[in-house]
Amino acid sequence: MLGQTMSNPRYRVRHEHSQRILRARDRHVACAVLLAIGAGTLACCATPAAHSKWQPPPWSSNGAGVVTIERAKGAADSSPEPETAADEEALQLADVVGREVMPGRIRNDGTRVQARYMEIPGATAFNARVRAILDDAIASSNATYTPEIFDASAGLSDRGCVAGVLSWPAAQVLSDTRTGPLEGTGTSIVCEIRTAFDSVIGVSFRTITGAPDEVDRDLTVTMFVDIETNEVIAGDELWTADAAARFWMRIAETARREANGLSSAPLSPPNAEQLKRAKRALDSVVYSAGNGATLTIPPGFSASELEALGLEPAVDAITATIDAAALAEWESDAAKSLFERRSEPFSGLPEWRADTPVDCKFVACVAVTYDDGPSIHTQQLLDTLRTDHAPASFYMLGSAANQRPDLVSEAAASGFEIGSHTMTHTDLTSLKPQAARAEVLDAARVLGDITGSPVTTYRPPYGAVNNAVLSAVNQPAILWTIDTLDWKDPGVDELVRRSADAAKAGDIILFHDTHADSVNAAGAVMRRLRDRGLTPVTVSTLFGGTVPTGTVFGR
């Protein structure tokens, strides 16, 4: 049957046609199934559209602003720091503040203290705090303090703050001869000007105690003084009552995130030891140009939550940089009021004066005096002394003063001490008492009329004085302990040797500003005195403002 069917040509054609149709249908069905599977697969694999504008949230902060932390290098690293941007800023600040500060330096081997500090003319409250820092360091040595002097090679005329010293490793401060105590063991006090704006100066004082291989203490305190109001803000006064705790929590939170902590559980508050560290960090504040600040947390920072994250107590100091927003949360109202003026340019310091008080029980003082002027050389002498910020005392002749009253005024205006040297340079012991009195007091009157201030001391010509003269004049007769014999014109170098190399604390040195070499030697004399650790002062300052009666040779 099938064979008969297939032998029929017309059937064969229809059969083949049907086969083609069936194969086509099968293909269509198969395609449809595959398409359905493919569509279903695509549909199932499709994901909801991503929300491209969504941003992952940041960590919820426990305070305003940004705080970043950096682990400091260890104390064992004593390699000197290269000059950095911080050093440049410090140098620029020193230029802004100018030379009118009073740079100080004490090297005292007996107590193993070297201090480089600064005082500000007229800022008595600030200067008192500086003195307190120095006294604390000396007291902690448990040794008796007596001002010490050295030979000129000590180089102690390099005084005052050191730009960049706050960033030096502690070991370097101790071991550097410019800043360190005897043999690097003891106490160093250094300072750096941190800011100057409007009438405000900020100065940091750093006290380091120990030895280069074992630093026991490294504490920095920053003080701000308003030189117009004599108000000082420092230490705790800069911060709110809870600033230390809040600062600590902020640092701990930052450390937790940096250690890949995922917990949002509140951190435990700091214990007493950690709170103490936080307070020391606040004391170390260094304000930056961008209205933020840097604080240094002493080694040992830790928290139980951090230890669970694998962070052991920090063996090194941690530097925390905080921005203005974070700082504003912790500053006291007094600090905010002070720093409101931060954008104002620095108003400057008063001009230097020779009669600025100096404590001659604390530093080794020497009084340099000049007789017989004013002369043709006196202007040069005044210029030199003002440039070097070197106090001196002038015993002037009344007759010379009448001829050059402008020099008398100029000397008095800069605070140089002026005393009478008589009207005509007569040996007072050769005169009757009344005449001797007139010689001295007439000159004093001339000088007083020119300067507007009474003249209350005198130097007898040739040093000649007796009881009759003393009684008649009734003023302290200022003599000397070192006579340079400059009237013999021995030369500049010899004058320096006879005066500065020979001087000791309490001496009064005699020069005459009528001799060119004496005037030419002035700068070198003052420098040599300071290199040895001596501080030039006026005669009155030598005696604490109250000159003894009778004949006065020295302190």
């Binding site: 069917t5 059937y11 229809r14 059969h15 049907s18 086969q19 069936l22 099968d26 069905v29 198969a30 199934v33 599977i37 279903g40 697969t41 199932c44 694999c45 499709a46 994901t47 909801p48 991503a50 929300h51 491209s52 969504w54 941003q55 992952p56 949230p57 940041p58 960590w59 919820s60 995130r257 250690a259 890949n260 902590g261 995922l262 917990s263 949002s264 559980a265 509140p266 939550e305 669970a308 994250l309 694998g310 052991e312």
Partner: protein
């Protein structure tokens, strides 16, 4: 002329097609279907709904995040597609996958034990169990207590975090919630706060 009968070849074609289709379907169900089914279940979280992780543990996904059931790989036999756990298709709590709204961060979470966390651990590149590591001060494993009271142990890389979370009240259990968080390219650092929020929302009922 008489009508001739239809040719026999069509039933065989249909039979072969059916067998082929059946094979494809069986293979599909065993390999791709669980994942495709999971994708079909994906929805956007309201921020209040609890999602089961197994073992009485749940998580509340943040609002706007996408949540779908977790389908784990049971057998891997390259080059063939892996065999997936299809029990989720029948109501088992096999865990969840939570995806951030921007699609970058995915967080897989399920209740289980160390053996069941093996694939997660391997995928994250994490080292072996905490007990086999050197002491924690090598910085690789971290232990914390979350604000929820749960104990979290985790190890982190640039794009993935593998963690074991023991909810409050179950800190002594051997079983816990295994967590694998990873990003699809960007570093995971920016997503750590968001991940923290998710982890804090894990809890266990009594």
């Amino acid at each position: 002329m008489t009508t001739k009968p239809e040719p026999k070849p069509r039933p065989r074609v249909l039979l072969l097609s059916g067998l082929l289709l059946g094979g494809i379907l069986v293979g599909y169900v065993a390999t791709f279907a669980p994942a495709h089914w999971a994708h079909l279940q994906e929805r956007t979280s309201t921020g209040t709904e609890k999602f089961e992780l197994g073992g009485n543990a749940q998580v509340i996904a943040p609002q706007g995040w996408h949540v779908r059931p977790l389908v784990r790989e049971l057998v891997s036999w390259p080059p063939l597609p892996p065999l997936h756990d299809y029990s989720a298709m029948f109501g088992a709590h096999t865990g969840v996958v939570i995806t951030s709204p921007d699609g970058v961060l995915t967080v897989e979470m399920h209740w289980g034990n160390e053996a069941s966390f093996e694939s997660m651990r391997t995928e994250s590149g994490a080292p072996k169990e905490e007990s086999e590591l050197p002491p924690p001060d090598n910085g690789e494993w971290r232990t914390e207590q979350l604000a929820s009271g749960a104990a979290l142990t985790h190890t982190d890389s640039d794009t993935a975090i593998f963690a074991v979370l023991r909810p409050k009240g179950k800190t002594n259990d051997e079983a816990a919630v295994g967590v694998l968080a990873r990003t699809n390219g960007p570093g995971i650092e920016a997503y750590r706060p968001a991940l923290s929020d998710v982890l804090e929302q894990v809890s266990a009922s009594e």
